[in-house]
């Protein structure tokens, strides 16, 4: 089990995996430790999100990089 990710350290261009399985790429980081601005690369929950930018809550960031397959 890994600890929480320090989202303040994530630079634009970093790929993240969200708790719902979506993947996104960070486009801006306000540095408040709470939010990231990111563009969706995939979303099993809502495919219409792909390509859109949105605000990602820090608690929704599950991992960095590609999603882990089990």
């Amino acid at each position: 089990m890994t600890g929480p990710i320090n989202v303040r350290e994530l630079a634009p261009g970093t790929s993240i995996v969200l708790v719902d399985g979506s993947r996104a790429e960070i486009v801006d980081n306000p540095g408040d430790g709470v939010w990231l601005f990111a563009r969706y690369l995939s979303s099993p929950r809502d495919p219409t999100l792909i390509g859109q930018e949105g605000m990602i809550f820090a608690q929704d960031v599950a991992a960095l990089g590609e999603p882990t397959t089990t």
Binding site: P30, D32, V34, F37, M55, F57
Partner: protein
């Protein structure tokens, strides 16, 4: 509460006919609480200067009465003033003095607001709120009106308040002395360095009335004058203009604004004032000549301490500074001081003035320390049961103001007392407290805009 009831503020606690004001208005906690609603929630208040937020995303956390507010510039470069309090549970959404941000995020539960005030981020919006929260309704609380007057930012919570320039009335002439350039060009001021902030254990009205134009307390500063901290190194900072000008108290009736003012003789430029620094002296000599060329006779006005009701002080000549007296309970005031220079002044001039300004004003300024000591002990000595029974005296110069003052062809509207021979009056304080009483009694701005009736009659 003592002295409350049928006597009212104007005829009881503030009795200008008798020249008496009760100490209760300085120390009574109920009156203090009423001031927050009746004065600070309705008046125009100074928030900051646009040079403090030059770029999109820049912010400066300021104060309106007891309230923390955010002065910021949004992505489209529009200026806003918001209550610094999350709409969810009230936490401050910005806890820094100043900076640059893409969003203001509440550290409590994570609600996040854009620099235009809109609620843009709600944790678990889809899951916990089922996407039903109306984000448009829950943005940051914005002031009812905002004014950018020559770069200075003012705001009021009251949508019914008159425009800022109507609120100022004839006092725009003296705020212009603060914000226009030394050489007479419009709106040249910028804030020099940061804002000094410090606490003084006194009611906010002590500094407010002092900067309304108290020339009677000059004895307090005698040691500073003897030390010669002025920019020429000897005597008072304003000795040059004082010795050649008419020295006035100018009050704007109905508005509660007032100032000391020097009026130079016709064809006379202000005497040199920076004799210890030849480059600075030459710069100001050039500026004064340019100002006379651009402004003509108006350039004969030399600004001095003044007060815009309720809690903003001006000093346009030197040190060129504005101050805010933020109430922090009946017995404490948070003083803020901004310093100004012309934005295109040479670096050497700015550096010289920076050194002089902080030597004179602010928490470490030698002159302001004298003032703070007076306010501190006067307040403490007015809190006791016996002390409260005895009013202060404000009778000095009662009945001697004129409304048609003119000096060598230059008219000065307002209620004016020429101090050149009499040295001192308390007309500015009476003007300030007359307005204070009106605010404390009036139900709304239809009663507070007392000048509109007489203007209507004049038009008829």
């Amino acid at each position: 509460m003592a002295m409350k009831g049928s006597r009212g503020y104007r005829s009881g606690l503030v009795d200008l006919q008798a020249g008496e004001i009760s100490r209760e208005i300085f120390v009574n906690e109920d009156i203090y609480a009423e001031e927050q609603e009746r004065i600070f929630a309705r008046a125009w208040l100074h928030v900051g200067h646009e040079s403090q937020i030059p770029k999109p995303g820049d912010y400066f956390v300021s104060s309106m009465g007891e309230e923390s507010v955010i002065l910021c510039r949004d992505r489209a470069s529009r200026i806003h003033v918001f209550l610094n309090s999350c709409r969810h549970r009230g936490m401050k959404v910005c806890r820094y003095d100043e900076g640059t941000a893409a969003v203001f995020t509440c550290p409590y539960h994570g609600w996040s607001f854009g620099t235009d005030g809109r609620l843009v981020g709600v944790p678990y919006f889809r899951e916990a709120y089922h996407s039903r929260l109306d984000k448009e309704k829950w943005g940051l609380i914005e002031v009812a009106q905002l004014a950018n007057y020559k770069g200075s930012i003012w705001a009021t919570w009251d949508p019914a308040a008159p425009s800022f320039t109507e609120y100022l009335g004839g006092f725009t002439r003296y705020l212009d002395l603060q914000l226009d350039g030394w050489d007479g060009r419009e709106a040249q001021a910028e804030v020099l360095c940061g804002v000094q902030k410090w606490l003084v254990p006194c009611n906010w009205k002590f500094p407010a009335e002092n900067f309304s134009g108290d020339t009677y307390h000059n004895i307090s500063h005698r040691s500073v004058d003897l030390a010669g901290i002025g920019p020429s190194g000897a005597g008072r900072r304003d000795m040059g203009e004082r010795d050649v000008s008419r020295k006035l108290h100018v009050c704007i009736p109905d508005r509660g604004h007032q100032t000391i003012l020097y009026v130079l003789p016709a064809e006379r430029l202000p005497p040199p004032a920076y004799m210890n620094a030849p480059i600075v002296a030459e710069y100001f000599r050039h500026c004064e000549e340019e100002k006379r060329r651009r402004r003509g006779e108006e350039a004969r006005l030399v600004g001095a301490p003044g007060e815009i009701f309720p809690n903003t002080a001006l000093l346009s000549r030197q040190p060129r500074t504005m101050a805010g007296w933020h109430p922090r309970g009946p017995h404490q005031t948070e003083c803020w001081r901004w310093y100004f220079v012309d934005r295109d002044a040479p670096g050497e001039v700015k550096q010289f003035l920076r050194d002089y300004y902080i030597r004179y004003s602010g928490p470490a300024g030698m002159t302001e320390q004298d003032d703070m000591e007076n306010w501190n002990y006067a307040h403490a000595a007015s809190r006791g049961t016996i002390a409260r029974r005895h009013p202060y005296n404000y009778d000095q110069g009662s009945g001697t103001a004129v409304t048609d003052y003119e000096y060598q062809g230059l008219s000065v509207p307002g209620e004016v007392i020429d101090l050149t021979e009499v040295q001192s009056s308390e007309q500015p304080m009476r003007n300030f407290y007359r307005r204070w009483a009106e605010f404390m009694e009036a139900g709304d701005w239809s009663q507070l805009a007392t000048w509109r009736g007489s203007e209507r009659k004049a038009a008829e």
